[in-house]
Subunit: 268 residues, 2 copies
C-alpha cells in the first residue's frame, strides 16, 4: 500500500481528496489520505439488479456492510459527503461486462446511465486506523504493499443472481495483538467488524497464507497467527460469478473518501 | 466439574447456597449452583499483608480482579451478600502456613483472628455462563471435569512480598467460537476479562496443553485453538512463592457464591 506522497499532503479531508481526484491529481491508492475519514468500496449497478444486490448485502453483512445507497440515476450521495459525485471522485474505476473487467478508467461519466444505483460498502482502512492508533503493527502497511486477500471455501448466502465465495483479507498478528484486534474491530461492524477466522487457514479453504488470490503476499512469522476479516472485494467476486451484464466498481485500493469520521461508526 | 446434584436443586440463589454450606449440606464444587449469581475466589490474609496484596491485585488485574474486600476482623461482606460469613459459607477451605497448604477444612471459625482481611476475586464461572448462553461449548463442562490450568512463563508484576507466575485456565475452541468468546469475555473485566493468549501455547511457557498443572486434562481437537484466560489460582501460586506465614483460601472449585448477578458485572 503506497502512502500519501508529499504532493498529497494537503488532502486532509474527504472533500479535498474528492476534488483532487476529480481534477485528475490523485492516482492509485487512497490509503493514507484524509486521515480519520471513512473510505468505502463502490459498486454501481442498474436499478434492475438493485433489489437482488440489497438482499445479497443484507444476507452477508460481514463482507458487504452498506454505508450508503444512492437514488437511481443520481451520482450524488449527500449523506456521505458534500458535493460528492461518484462518477469522478475516485482515483480509478473498473468497468465490468458479463462478469469480466473490460476497462480500468479514471472517470465514468461516459458510462453513466439514468438507471444506475451506487452502493458504498465499509472498508478495512477505517479499522486499520483504529488498530494503528492502539499500537498494533499491520504487516502490509509496514511492508508497503496491498493487504493479502483470499477466496475462501465459504459461500456467501445467495440472493437472486448474486452468489459467490466469501473473500477475506489477512493480517498476521502476535496472539495478544490478535485478541486486541478482535476487541477493536468488533466496534466497527460497518467496516467488516470482528474477524471471521483465526489461526487455522485450511479450515476456511486457504491452502497457503503466503499465496494470496488478490493483493500482495506479506511476511507471516512463526510467532504469529493469521487473522482473517471479511473483505469488500467479495461483491466483485459475486459480479464475476453472476456474469452480470454491466457494473462499475472502484479499482482495488482506490476508494471513495467520505466526509464521515471513522470514529462515528464505532458502536461503543 | 461436577454439576449440582438433585439434592442441591433448591440452591437457586446465593443466600440459599451459603446457608446450605454453613449447615454442612454442600461439599465440593459450587459449579452449577445458583445459576446467574457471581461466584468468587477467596483469599484471607493478616491485615499486615493486606497493602501488599492490594498492590499485587492492582498491578495484576487480569488474574486478580477484586470484587470485594472486607474490614479487618470482620468476616462479613455485605456488598456481596446478605448474612454472608466467609468463615462458614463456602464448601471448603485451605489453610496455608509458610507457603504450604497444611489443611483442607469445611469451616474456618477455629482459625479466625481479629486481624484477618478477606479478598474476593472474580471467577471464570461467570463468563462461562455467558459463553454457554451464547451456544459456545465449554469442553471441561462437557467432559464433566475441572478446567485445566497451567503455570505460565509469564511473571506477575511483583508487589512487596507477593510475586509468582501467571496461572491461566485453558478452553479449546473452534476459531469462530474463539473470536466470539473474546468478544463475550471482554465484557467481564471483573471475571478475568478477555483471554491473555490464543493458539501458540509454547509462547507463554505451556509445553503441552494436554498436561495441566492444576485441574484436569481435556480433549483438544485438531480443528480447535487453545484459548487461555488469566486465572484466580494465580494468588494461591503467589502465596506459595512468597512463603506467607499464614493465609486461608477457598478450596479449588469451592467458591464463595454471592447475591450479585453475573450480568451486573458486564461493562457493556
Amino acid at each position: 500500500m503506497e502512502t500519501a506522497s508529499a504532493a498529497h499532503s494537503g488532502l486532509i479531508d474527504g472533500l479535498s481528496v474528492r476534488r483532487a481526484c476529480r481534477a485528475g491529481a490523485v492516482r492509485g491508492t487512497t490509503a493514507g489520505l484524509a486521515p480519520g475519514f471513512a473510505q468505502g468500496n463502490l459498486v454501481i449497478l442498474p436499478v434492475a439488479d438493485a433489489t437482488d444486490f440489497l438482499r445479497f448485502a443484507q444476507a452477508n453483512p460481514r463482507p458487504c456492510p452498506l454505508i450508503g445507497v444512492s437514488e437511481a440515476g443520481d451520482p450524488h450521495l449527500p449523506a456521505l459527503g458534500a458535493d460528492l459525485d461518484v462518477r469522478t471522485d475516485l482515483p480509478g474505476y473498473r468497468i465490468w461486462r458479463d462478469g469480466e473487467c473490460v476497462a480500468e478508467v479514471a472517470d465514468v461519466r461516459q458510462f453513466w446511465r439514468k438507471d444506475l444505483v451506487s452502493f458504498v460498502i465499509g472498508c478495512s482502512y477505517s479499522f486499520e486506523e483504529a488498530l494503528l492508533e492502539d499500537g498494533v503493527e499491520i504487516r502490509h502497511i509496514s511492508e508497503g504493499v496491498k493487504v493479502p486477500m483470499f477466496r475462501t471455501g465459504i459461500s456467501c448466502a445467495p440472493a437472486g443472481k448474486f452468489r459467490g465465495p466469501l473473500v477475506v483479507s489477512m493480517r498476521p498478528l502476535k496472539p495478544a495483538d490478535a485478541i486486541r484486534a478482535i476487541q477493536i474491530t468488533s466496534r466497527y461492524p460497518a467496516m467488516h467488524g470482528a474477524p471471521v477466522h483465526i489461526g487455522l487457514p485450511q479450515q476456511i479453504g486457504v491452502a497457503d497464507v503466503r499465496r494470496p488470490d488478490y493483493g500482495d503476499a506479506v511476511t507471516v512469522r512463526d510467532d504469529e497467527l493469521p487473522v482473517f476479516w471479511a473483505c469488500g472485494v467479495t461483491p466483485q467476486a459475486a459480479l464475476v460469478e453472476s456474469n452480470l451484464p454491466f457494473a462499475i466498481t472502484h479499482s482495488p485500493g482506490s476508494m471513495l473518501v467520505t466526509d464521515v469520521k471513522n470514529r462515528s461508526y464505532a458502536v461503543i
